[in-house]
Structure formats: structure tokens, C-alpha cells
């Protein structure tokens, strides 16, 4: 018997729990030669702002042990371009497309959300209040409960689409932020965005990245991400999209057992362009081997020993 893989993330009905992490999968076009995107539960596309953005100076990427630091800086063609050029393509897909949005002001978030409202082919919004790579906005909003709630409310007020808020791990108390965002009306949470990090070129004695600091992702951050999902799952009722270093089904299952309803594959796609699909197939296999009929049985199923 084929196990049931369908999940509902705050109103976004996904046929399976596997999606892609924003910024690592372009606009869903680049990986088409590698596998059938329609196999995925959803595709989350690159962070989109009101105006087109040029992003940061290069180098924008540096490899670190089992991870990468990136400082792309939200390069994107702007929301109008997305609506005109990519949304029609999104509408042809048999997978849900979630658009990641960002802004420098609360108003910009709301304006982008409003522009995307009702556009065919878009199933939901992921609100990036945790980008460490832009001067204004981004992480600044995500590091305090009050501002995180403010952005959430503004976006919710501007759209009928399900709103997933993406949290930062660069905080003292992620549960507190998650609760504030829940109260402000979010439909779901994504976590984690990248960890603030840095690398120095010892030959030239200066930071490697054009932007000085960058965001750490990849396998290196997985333990931090699993911990964040575990904590947030116990603090709020919202469904969680878990991400951070997932490269295999085993990794994804750690997140699901910790409390994630869905999972996103990011950096791993760079190494294995089929990574998201491999994760999906591995999850299916695990369910079959363990005679689990519904993926939802696993969500948050990791037990604390002795409790």
C-alpha cells in the first residue's frame, strides 16, 4: 500500500512534504533538466522585492567546512517581473509554487504581498524576515518579536494567500519570535534561514565576501536547524517547514520527527541537483519499510527519553 504523503501547510495543500529552499532553486526553471519538478510537494522561489535589486558585490559565496556562506543580497528582478514573466509558467506546474518575499520596510512587504494576491499560479507566500545579507530589513525584522509580528500582520492584511513566516536562527529565543508571529496571524512557519557567519582571506587579510558577512547554510547547520524546529514545534501550533542542511531522506526525517510538517532542500541541490527528489523517494521508502501509512504520524514523533 502506498503511504499517504499529503500535508497541509497552513492552507497550502502539498501532495508530499518536500519542497525547495528559497534562493537555492531560482525560479524553478533551472533544475528542470534534472528531474520532474511536478513530483515535489511545492517549489519555493527566490526572494522577491518590490523593485528589482542588484544584490551584493562578488564574491558572494565561499565554501566552509560542510557548508557555504552566501551573500547574494536578494538580487531579483522585482515583483512585477515575477508576475509577468514567471507566474504564467508557475500556473502550468502541477506543484504548488510559494513565493518568498522581502522588503526594506513593513510597507514594502505589504505591497509585494498585495501585488501577488490573486495571481494565478501562486499558492502561498513565504515571508523572509531573516535574511542576513541586506542592510535594511531582512534580519532586522526577524530578530525582535514586535517587528516580526508587525511584518506578519501587514502581510496578512494585504493578501488572501496562506502566509508562511520564515524565522532566523540568529536569536536568543526563537520560541518567543515564533509565538509573536503566530499571534499576529501567520498560517505557518519556515525555519531556519541562514546563520550569520564570516570568512577571512588570510592572504589578502580581508573578508572573503564582498558583503563582509554572509549566511551559513548546508549540512554544517543541520543540528542547529533540527533544534530550532524541535523548540518551535513545542511552542506553537503552526505547521512548520523545516530546513537547514537537508541532503538526504534521513536528514529530512530528523526534521519531521522533530516537528516539521514539510521540509525544504536548499544547498544540497547544488551538490546533487536531484536532491529534493531523492529526499522524497527516501521518505517514501522509510514509510513503507516502517509500515507507516501516513507521514503525519511522524510529525513531532520523536520522544524525549524518560518522559
Amino acid at each position: 500500500m502506498k503511504p499517504n504523503l499529503a500535508v497541509n501547510v497552513g492552507g497550502i495543500k502539498m501532495k508530499n512534504p518536500v519542497t525547495t529552499a528559497s534562493g537555492t532553486f531560482g525560479f524553478g526553471l533551472e533544475y528542470r533538466p534534472y528531474f520532474d519538478l511536478n513530483r515535489l510537494g511545492a517549489v519555493v522561489v527566490k526572494g522577491t522585492t518590490w523593485e528589482p535589486r542588484q544584490g551584493n558585490k562578488t564574491p558572494r559565496l565561499v565554501e566552509t567546512p560542510a557548508g557555504i556562506l552566501n551573500a547574494i543580497g536578494l538580487q531579483n528582478p522585482g515583483v512585477d517581473y515575477l508576475v509577468q514573466h514567471y507566474a504564467p509558467y508557475f500556473a502550468t506546474l502541477q506543484t504548488k509554487v510559494i513565493v518568498n518575499i522581502a522588503g526594506s520596510t513593513v510597507e514594502e512587504y505589504a505591497r509585494v504581498a498585495e501585488r501577488l494576491n490573486g495571481v494565478p499560479g501562486i499558492a502561498g507566500l513565504e515571508v523572509n524576515i531573516s535574511c542576513p545579507n541586506v542592510k535594511k530589513g531582512g534580519l532586522a525584522f526577524g530578530s525582535r518579536p514586535s517587528t516580526a509580528a508587525q511584518v506578519t500582520r501587514a502581510v496578512k492584511g494585504a493578501t488572501d494567500l496562506p502566509v508562511i513566516v520564515k524565522l532566523s536562527p540568529n536569536v536568543t529565543d526563537i520560541e518567543e519570535i515564533a509565538k509573536a508571529v503566530e499571534e499576529a496571524g501567520a498560517d505557518g512557519l519556515s525555519l531556519i534561514n541562514t546563520l550569520l557567519g564570516m570568512a577571512i582571506d588570510i592572504r589578502r587579510r580581508k573578508p572573503v565576501l564582498g558583503n563582509v558577512m554572509g549566511g551559513l547554510s548546508g549540512p554544517a547547520v543541520k543540528p542547529v536547524a533540527v533544534r530550532a524546529v524541535w523548540q518551535v514545534y513545542r511552542a506553537v501550533k503552526l505547521p512548520i517547514i523545516g530546513m537547514g542542511g537537508i541532503s538526504t531522506a534521513a536528514d529530512a526525517l530528523e526534521f519531521i520527527l522533530a516537528g516539521a510538517t514539510a521540509v525544504a532542500v536548499g544547498t544540497a541541490s547544488f551538490i546533487n541537483p536531484r536532491a529534493a527528489l531523492d529526499v522524497l523517494e527516501g521518505i517514501e521508502l522509510y514509510l513503507k519499510e516502517n509500515k507507516i501509512t501516513d507521514i503525519k504520524e511522524l510529525v513531532g514523533a520523536a520522544q524525549v527519553p524518560g518522559n
Binding site: F25, R32, Y34, D36, R60, L61, I68, Q75, S269, F270
Partner: protein, 264 residues
């Protein structure tokens, strides 16, 4: 359209050809069949998470009949060091061919290639195709010294005129490739000059080409994440109709018109 562009390729040969420089043949018939000069493959050096990323390497030569793709690489860090230790029969996972290659000229047109150091790697594949097109070729080939000179034999075999510059004068002209080209003026009469080498060299020659009104193409190197255009790590600035736009070295390049590149 789902064509898998990822494959496990068997190492058919691997050996050093110059100090810290290795030649490697991979059994990758699909890539050999599809590749055009200037494209690259994205190579997984290790299945562990360290080093994490693939490494982009130009396609150095192909044999379509034998289904072989050849690489030529310099050991500069972890990834290339691991690759250099592979042995015949080992398997290496490669993605490709990736990127947009060189623009080929009309058959029979006179062309010039300018290569610095390991930059010679992709130009051999290009020279193969140019030779097929019966293009008279002049190669401006630079290296630190005689010992580290690469691919001169291959270019000669393909019928090219090869002019050599070494930093220390141990072979040919003593000085840089641009210096040598300033004295050797043949390239001014070419349909296209193709460049691959250190940034400074390409920038200098691009300026020379621009002032001589000769079209050129350069291959740009940026640190790459995905290699397929999805992550925007590899942004380069390309001027187009007076407007500077960001393009992705991996997917929109790595080959770009020499006069459009905004060097900084």
C-alpha cells in the same frame, strides 16, 4: 524535457602533465556528445560533505567516438587535490555540459586564441572545432616558465601557429601575453580572438581588442554554487546597449563578448 545531465563517469586515464597540473579522461558519452567548446562540467570531488561543493572545470577535449571527456586542471586546493588522487577505474560524478560556449566563426575565418596558464584548457577543445572549420589559428600562449607551459604540442598538432611568452623568458618571448600581442599584430586581422586566462590578462587584451575594433570572447571565472543559474552566486557585470546588467557566469556564460564585460 527531462534529460539527466548528471552521471557517474569512470576515470579512463589520469596523469600529471606539468607541475601541479593533471590531465584526466572521463568516460562520459552523453557529455561528449552534447558539449561545445567553452562549456564546463561541474565535478563532485568527494561524496563526503567536505569539500561540499562541486568544482567547475572546463571541457578540455572530447572524443565523441570514444565517449571521452578530457579535463586539464591545476591543483590549487582541497577539491582539485582529491581529484588528482583518483585512479583509473575510479568513478567521478559529473554534471554537464553546462554553460554557454564560444561563438564559432564562419568556416575558414582567421582566428586568434590567447591563453594564460591553465586558461589553455578550454581553448584546446575550441581549437579542435576551429581546425574542423578549417580556420587558420594563431595561439598566443603564456606561462610562468618553460616547465609550466601547457598544451603547446596539442595546438601545434591541430595546425595552429603557436607563439609563446614566459614570465622568465625560459621559452619564447619574455613577458606577458598582452605584451607579446602588442608586438605581434596578426590578431588585428582576425574574425574573433578567444581569451582564457587570469583576469588581469583578459582585461588588458579585451581593451586592446576594443581599441583595435576586433571582436573577442572571454571566459569568466566566478566562485560557483549550483552551476546551473539557480543561486546567483556567480554574478558578473555585462554591459548591453549601454545598460549594465548582472549575468550568471554559469548559465549565461562562462563565455561573454570581450567588449561587454565590466571589469572591476
Amino acid at each position: 524535457m527531462v534529460v539527466s545531465k548528471v552521471s557517474d563517469a569512470k576515470v579512463a586515464a589520469v596523469f600529471p602533465v606539468a607541475p601541479e597540473t593533471y590531465y584526466m579522461e572521463l568516460e562520459a558519452p552523453e557529455i561528449a556528445r552534447l558539449a561545445v567548446p567553452g562549456q564546463f562540467v561541474h565535478v563532485s570531488c568527494s561524496s563526503a560533505h567536505d569539500p561540499l561543493l562541486r568544482r567547475p572545470l572546463s571541457i578540455h577535449m572530447v572524443s565523441r567516438q570514444q565517449g571521452i571527456v578530457a579535463l586539464l586542471f591545476r591543483v590549487v586546493g582541497k577539491g582539485t587535490a582529491i581529484l588528482a588522487q583518483k585512479r583509473t577505474g575510479d568513478v567521478v560524478n559529473v554534471m554537464g555540459p553546462l554553460g554557454r560556449g564560444f561563438t564559432l566563426p564562419l568556416p575558414g575565418s582567421r582566428v586568434a586564441l590567447a591563453a594564460g596558464g591553465i586558461g589553455a584548457a578550454p581553448l584546446v577543445f575550441l581549437a579542435q572545432e576551429l581546425a574542423n572549420l578549417k580556420c587558420p589559428i594563431t595561439v598566443y600562449l603564456g606561462a610562468k616558465n618553460k616547465k609550466s607551459l601547457l598544451c603547446d604540442g596539442q595546438f601545434v598538432q591541430l595546425g595552429a601557429e603557436v607563439v609563446i611568452a614566459t614570465d622568465d623568458g625560459s621559452l619564447g618571448f619574455q613577458g606577458t601575453v598582452p605584451d607579446m600581442m602588442r608586438r605581434h599584430r596578426d590578431w588585428r586581422r582576425t574574425a574573433m580572438t578567444y581569451l582564457c586566462g587570469p583576469k588581469a590578462m583578459m582585461q588588458e587584451i579585451s581593451a586592446m581588442l576594443a581599441s583595435a575594433d576586433v571582436p573577442g570572447e572571454v571566459t569568466l571565472e566566478e566562485k560557483m554554487g549550483c552551476g546551473v543559474g539557480a543561486c546567483l552566486s556567480c554574478a558578473v557585470k555585462i554591459a548591453h546597449h549601454g545598460q549594465v546588467r548582472q549575468q550568471r557566469a554559469c548559465a549565461d556564460g562562462p563565455v561573454f563578448p570581450s567588449w561587454q564585460v565590466v571589469w572591476d
